[in-house]
Symmetry: C2
Subunit: 198 residues, 2 copies
DNA sequence: GCTTTCCAATTGAATGTTCATTCGGATTTA
DNA sequence: TAAATCCGAATGAACATTCAATTGGAAAGC
């Protein structure tokens, strides 16, 4: 319900180019290390043009966060879960997000940088975050169905999320190799911890 | 064994002041947002003095990371575990680190920023990291004793670590309140997932 | 259909600021 | 007094942001 207007009407080409370039550059060089002039060049746009779309670099970063967040929200929304058993749905969701972040390392890296920077100081609480409220609702279903322990769904959601991020980072690190079998153990371990004992 | 020389001989007062000031300022303002001039002022030192101890800002940040990492290493090392049951030791370790990071939010925030920035690009692999190798050794013990599932200890260590970080962030957020009871559920959930089924 | 008007979109050079780093000299230490 | 520390003003580069000028294309007038 709370979708941005922009996701209704297509984002101007230039604006999208600026978003995507910033995403790439922030991964490569961090927030510092990505001057506006570089964003402009990568986006194939003049420096001044950026300021036509965004009041400041600060605002660009904030809007970029909202823009990027639509992507994983999309992933969760597409896992139409109501019809299949909760446990299967859990694994689908876990691997769905795992695959998404693995394929979109820009997005993950940007999130991580953003969320650990002072930029994110004025963000809404978990419950008001579009992404997390979907996630939380999912775990509420598991509890209601008696499949999960009676643990606050915000805790379950946060743990699940961090296990996904952790797994992506592990698998993506060139310092480490993670076997297919090992990868699967991660959500299984989490499931064993969260499931309602029989 | 691989302790830095500096932890043997006391760090010069000024140097420690610079480290601690940077830690504080990076939490407050991020890497950007903490100019050397500000570090100098907070440390009660002239700008030039910093350059007596560190070749550059870059090097300051890198050395600060090594300096800060000694703190949690200390925490792990002090949990003398060999004598008590593995399960108890697991919870001690979990809460030990939880408490440490909760009391030292500067350190946690700095780690998070550092590890997600390009600074950390040239870091050693998990196995070579002093902190993680202690952690990994701990979980190896649990596997050897048959208390834990036969899952790669580096996975167990990484998951445990991220659950701690996640919990600290959750508990520390002023957007959210986490009851004592809820907090305890987190390591319990993790334990249930990791333990060898009876 | 063909001008004319108008405004959003775009440009990139210019501006002013912020900041890391330097360095010549002062001060402390041994 | 020599060496190690320390100082902080000065330097110069990097950067976010501005703005006067240009373009393109859509509506309005003829």
């Amino acid at each position: 319900m709370n979708i941005q207007l922009e996701s209704m009407e297509p984002i101007a080409d230039k604006k999208r180019a600026i978003f995507e370039s910033t995403l790439e550059l922030v991964r490569e060089n961090g927030f510092h290390g990505t001057p506006m002039s570089m964003v402009a060049k990568r986006a194939g746009v003049a420096a001044g043009t950026i300021y036509h779309y965004f009041k400041s670099k600060d605002q660009l970063i904030h809007e970029l966060f909202a823009y990027a967040q639509q992507k994983p929200i999309q992933v969760i929304s597409e896992e139409n879960c109501e019809t299949i058993p909760f446990k299967d749905c859990f694994f689908n969701l876990w691997f769905g997000l795992f695959t998404f972040y693995t394929r979109q390392p820009n997005v993950l890296k940007f999130f991580e940088q953003f969320l650990n920077s002072p930029y994110s100081a004025d963000r809404p609480s978990l419950e008001q975050d579009d992404f997390f409220s979907l996630f939380i609702a999912f775990f509420e279903r598991g509890i209601t169905e008696g499949k999960l322990k009676k643990v606050s769904p915000k805790i379950l959601a946060t743990l699940a999320n961090s296990s996904i991020i952790t797994a992506v980072k592990l698998a993506g690190s060139d310092k480490i190799t993670l076997q297919e079998r090992e990868l699967r153990q991660i959500p299984e371990l989490l499931w064993d911890g969260m499931k309602q004992a029989a």
